[in-house]
Amino acid sequence: MQDGYFDGPGPEARFKAFLAEGRFMIQRSRATGAHVFYPRVAAPGTGETDLDWVAPSGLGTVYATTVTRQRPEQGGDYNIALIDLDEGPRLMARVDGIAPEAVAIGLRVRASVGEIKGEPAVIFHPVEG
């Protein structure tokens, strides 16, 4: 393990700091090349302490999707999806730019950093064409 690996802000704080700069960053193990999300202190399963921060392509595919039903006066229906990034990891997110119920499994999507309730958040939109 390299000196200072555990020093400074933890992985969640670093992830959020990147987000605040408008950057969506994930981790990658130097030894295996495997990408990791959500941010961990060590590679899941092996414990390797060799995780670097890298920028993913931002491309992914909808793995599962649901529409949370909500009265219009409370904000209306909204989408929640699980996205498989092209790099491998899966994350929960929202797909915007399309009706919540039109989000289909297999849909190709691209990440951007938007905002939910005043907080920066990774949001996906359908890939054009």
Binding site: E12, Y38, P39, T66, V67, R69, R94, I105, I116
Partner: protein, 388 residues
């Protein structure tokens, strides 16, 4: 070294199932313990092992021991959601077999319904919370969407699970939700989180439960037919739904075979099958993962009323979490139904049910617990003394 047959249930009870206005979660849990000990005819002072988990008490075993006025020599309050109680049975069997304790009580209590509705024990999930999931339903809806996509299952297929459960509830006067229910009723109910509608979801009730376990050498002294823990096993691999490796295969695919291996029997030997049905998808996933049918085939497997009253495989014979009782962490009720079916099969008086509600001569029951968001899976197999 095996735990097969090393612990026996000699008493059990529920309390306040449905609605229990005016009584708090601890009072309901303590009532269930007192009733279960009366069922076993074992004095409270003999209880030296205590196992409890609820959504209302961060240290449930301590709170319950204090309320009862006992001093356990061994206790465990591990909380792995609704599967906690199958894990407690495994832990109790270990402690009994090791001679650490002589009489174990496993207990649970909740007054969530009269206290204002669904009571979550869950902290917000990091990296998920910002998207507004309404767990647990969001997680189960996501799993359902994936299951339907991979295997072509339909909302009507899911509805069959709810209709079968209601069929059993209609034979059980203790069940909370009774009355006719059709597939069209289920698919036509208000959508909560696509593709799950209101009637794909478990009940929100009050209720408490307790069981009493002893070593087999003492089990035959009591008034009730002892029911033996033949096998139990657990596994979990995620806490957040986004971290579940495959949304269509649960850890039951690992816990089930290990529990059956300890028990020395398999899915086809089960006389009754009790599965934690928090949502309709659960029953399909667990029938597959526990080996009753192949992956992706549960919808076809249950067609034609196979798991409903009169069908070939009695599943969730109390009416399940969907129609009998679901106070938040339903696992101990799953276990109790598994054991009661065996006691009734041996001729014990388990109270009235409509014809077919008790499975004649049942000697082997599966009790499968689920915790979190399809996260923790704990399988247990219970048997009559003849199966030892």
């Amino acid at each position: 070294m095996t735990l097969r047959g090393k612990a026996a249930c000699v008493g059990l009870a529920t309390a306040g199932c449905g609605e229990a206005p005016g009584r708090n979660a601890m009072e309901l849990m303590a009532e269930a313990v007192v009733r279960a000990l009366a069922d076993a005819q074992i004095p409270l002072a003999k209880v030296d092992g205590l196992f409890a988990a609820t959504a209302f008490h961060s240290m449930a075993a301590m709170s319950l021991a204090e309320h009862l006025g006992i001093r356990p020599a061994f206790s465990d309050g591990s909380n792995i959601g609704g599967s906690s109680f199958m894990a407690h049975a495994l832990m109790a069997a270990m402690a009994l077999d090791a001679g650490l304790i002589n009489v174990a009580v496993i207990a649970y209590g909740s007054n969530q319904r009269t206290a204002g509705g669904f009571k979550s024990i869950s902290e917000p999930m990091p990296f998920e919370a910002i998207y507004g999931p309404r767990n647990p339903i969001t997680a189960y809806a996501l799993a359902t969407s994936r299951y339907m996509h991979e295997f072509g299952a339909t909302r009507e297929d899911l509805a069959e699970v709810a209709v079968a459960a209601r069929g059993w509830a209609n034979l059980n006067p203790e069940a909370f939700a009774r009355g006719p229910l059709t597939v069209a009723d289920v698919t036509g109910a208000r959508m909560i989180s696509d593709p799950l509608g209101k009637l794909d979801c478990c009940l929100v009730t009050d209720g408490a439960a307790a069981i009493v376990l002893t070593r087999p050498d003492r089990a035959k002294d009591g008034p009730r037919t002892p029911v033996y823990l033949l096998g139990a096993a657990m596994e979990h691999h995620h806490r957040m739904i986004s971290a579940m490796p495959s949304l269509t295969t649960t850890a039951a695919a690992a816990s089930g075979p290990r529990a059956f291996a300890m028990a020395g029997c398999g899915p086809r030997d089960m006389d009754t099958v009790q599965l934690y049905d928090a949502f309709t998808i659960n029953t399909l996933l667990f029938l597959e993962d526990l080996g009753f049918c192949a992956k992706g085939e549960a919808a076809a497997f249950i067609k034609g009323g196979r798991i409903a009253p009169g069908g070939a495989l009695p599943v969730n014979t109390n009416g399940g979490g969907l129609s009998c009782v679901h106070p938040g962490m339903y696992g101990l009720f799953v276990t109790i139904e598994a054991i009661r079916q065996i006691r009734a099969g041996a001729g014990d008086d388990e109270g009235p049910r409509e014809a077919g509600g008790w499975i004649p001569g049942a000697k082997l029951s599966l009790a499968h617990g689920n915790g979190g968001v399809l996260s923790s899976q704990v399988t247990s197999v219970w048997g009559h003394g003849d199966t030892l």
